[in-house]
């Protein structure tokens, strides 16, 4: 073998080896930096400073910051974190760089306002973000809807929620639910049906997968809550009619009060306790439920939305 051939052969082998080795090492480095890298993304917290530094390429930088925001929330949520302190500044920078990035405002409305571990527990900041979004995109009905959503679900400020929904209902292409929601705020705020309408609107109108998953999880929880309330009512009715409580839910079927023993959204039958209460068998599988929880039950630090991915399919 000539000297040149030998060098070519050796250099090719080394090239392949070092390429593979560097990729494998980088994978290892990435594993070590998962937590650290996310904290590093925000040493410049001022949206104005970031815009100046973008040298006119704010659109591209907005996309970068938007990706960081989604990743930040996703990774934090995945590791059951309770602190989402960078989410608000990341979204504020993103929307300052690109004020027409509506999905970023929507993401903020959905995940800035709920209390940890569902979100960062900053409803006021979420309102500020969405209000900024409305100023930049006055015809986006979804932003008015998001605003009403925060007022209704997080702050329980029904007049403000009604105003936001009715303003949104006047925008072109607005979801027909908005008019009904505006009216409902005045009449029956706090009902399961109203909450269901809100989450259905979110599920139908959101383009972001994480927002959709969150809405699907809440809809399942509402379904479960409603089932528990109805079953408990039937148990009481059974007791009034027969003078004794039912031994199991099958008794309600035999008494023609139920067609079948109902299953919870996770596919398990509800449990009837000796004191006539209805419990969910495994509450960890149905995040956000408020009814049918066993006494002393503590929810997991963060709901496992991955389990509910099938809700989208």
């Amino acid at each position: 073998m000539s000297s040149r051939r030998r060098t070519t052969f050796l250099a090719s082998i080394l090239l392949t080896f070092f390429l593979g080795a560097s990729v494998l090492t980088l994978v290892q480095v990435d594993r070590m930096r998962t937590g650290a890298s996310l904290q590093e993304v925000l040493y410049i917290t001022s949206p104005k400073a970031v815009k100046r530094l973008s040298l006119g390429y704010e659109g591209l930088l907005a996309d970068v910051y938007w990706t960081r925001a989604v990743q930040y929330f996703g990774n934090k949520h995945h590791i059951l974190a309770r602190d989402y302190s960078l989410l608000a500044p990341l979204l504020e920078i993103t929307t300052y760089l690109d004020p027409h990035l509506v999905v970023a405002y929507e993401f903020g409305a959905n995940f800035l306002s709920p209390q940890p571990p569902e979100g960062s527990g900053q409803p006021k900041r979420a309102i500020q973000l969405v209000e900024n979004g409305i100023r930049s995109n006055p015809n986006e009905w979804r932003l008015y809807y998001d605003l009403g959503f925060i007022y209704y679900l997080e702050l329980h400020d029904y007049p403000q929620a009604a105003e936001a929904f009715s303003r949104g209902a006047e925008r072109p292409g607005a979801h027909p639910f908005l008019k009904i929601l505006a009216a409902k705020m005045a009449q029956s705020a706090g009902e399961i049906e109203t909450a269901r309408m809100l989450w259905i609107t979110t599920f139908e109108s959101a383009n972001d997968k994480q927002i959709k998953l969150n809405a699907a999880a809440h809809l399942k929880a509402l379904q479960s809550d409603e089932n528990v309330l109805v079953l408990e009512k039937l148990v009481r009715l059974y007791q009034e009619r027969t003078g004794h409580p039912p031994a199991s839910l099958v008794d309600l079927v035999y008494a023609n009060m139920l067609r079948d023993v109902p299953l919870d959204p996770a596919g398990r039958p509800y449990k009837l306790t000796s004191d006539g209460r209805i419990e969910v068998r495994n509450p960890d599988d149905i995040p956000f439920i408020t009814q049918g929880l066993p006494p002393g039950y503590k929810p997991p630090v963060a709901p496992d939305l991955d389990k509910l991915k099938d809700a989208l399919q």
């Binding site: 060098t7 090239l15 070092f18 980088l26 904290q39």
Partner: protein
């Protein structure tokens, strides 16, 4: 290292040190460190932070400029001046020439970085009157910057082994910018699916990941750097530089120099 590589490396080092542009860049970097002190004084309570951020950024940027612009000329200059033919007519192999050039420029950059780092520490001392224990992490940040220089030097050599100096500079600088956003590229990949995801992830791992080696922000806040991260980052940078150097050798070995 064999004696021929050593000779080429020491000649490259000497040539680079004689280059006036190099001194200008170092002087400019030191001036910027001085500016950091001024900026630090008007930044209430964050003088220390500003000096580290601005100082290390200056070291990194000017080092990159030196690595790219000297690196791309290493082969083309020799061809232009016809000195390459004299070197290769002696018992020097082409791969020894490339490897020698790499070590020569790497040595130059290490020496330059050393002086620029002294400037940063002098500025820190001036601002804080004494050095704190967490300032030792700044040394690790400087070490990571040197690792970045090794990677970009090898890449500049790779490009100059088959392309014109201007194009090589464009390629190397573009890779530097893309590599700085390597983690964001991976973030984009995570948001896509199917074929696009595979392509974006593959690209993200193929390009040099400079963001993994950029710890300026965290050391400015006195955050410690884990030992295993130092180890793995060192291995990664050395592997990547060796990969680019192997590519340069492979291409240069078959290049028609007539």
């Amino acid at each position: 290292m064999n004696s021929r590589i050593r000779h080429i490396a020491s000649n490259t080092f000497r040539e680079a040190v004689r280059d006036r542009v190099l001194y200008n860049l170092v002087a400019f970097a030191l001036l910027l460190v001085g500016a950091a002190i001024l900026v630090g004084q008007i930044s209430i309570d964050i003088e220390h932070l500003v000096v580290i951020n601005l100082g290390l950024t200056a070291v990194s940027l000017f080092g990159m400029v030196i690595a790219i612009f000297v690196g791309i000329g290493l082969v083309s200059k020799e061809i232009e001046k016809k000195t390459l033919y004299t070197v290769l007519s002696r018992p020097v192999r082409r791969w020894e020439f490339i490897v020698g050039k790499f070590f020569g420029l790497a040595g130059t950059l290490v020496v330059n970085t050393f002086f620029m780092a002294i400037g940063v520490f002098a500025a820190l001392l001036y601002v804080s009157h004494h050095l704190h224990a967490p300032d030792a992490w700044v040394l690790i940040a400087v070490y990571f910057i040197v690792l970045q220089f090794l990677m970009i030097t090898a890449l500049a050599l790779l490009f100059s082994s088959f392309s014109s100096p201007l194009l090589s500079a464009v390629f190397a600088f573009s890779l530097f910018v893309i590599g700085t956003f390597a983690e964001d590229l991976r973030g984009f990949a995570a948001l896509t699916s199917g074929m696009a995801r595979w392509v974006a992830t593959g690209l993200a791992y193929l390009i040099p990941n400079f963001s993994a080696l950029n710890i300026i922000g965290s050391v400015a806040h006195g955050q410690p750097v884990p030992g295993h991260l130092i180890l793995y980052n060192s291995i990664y940078a050395l592997f990547y530089a060796a990969m680019a150097l192997s590519g340069a050798v492979l291409i240069f070995e078959h290049r028609n120099l007539k």
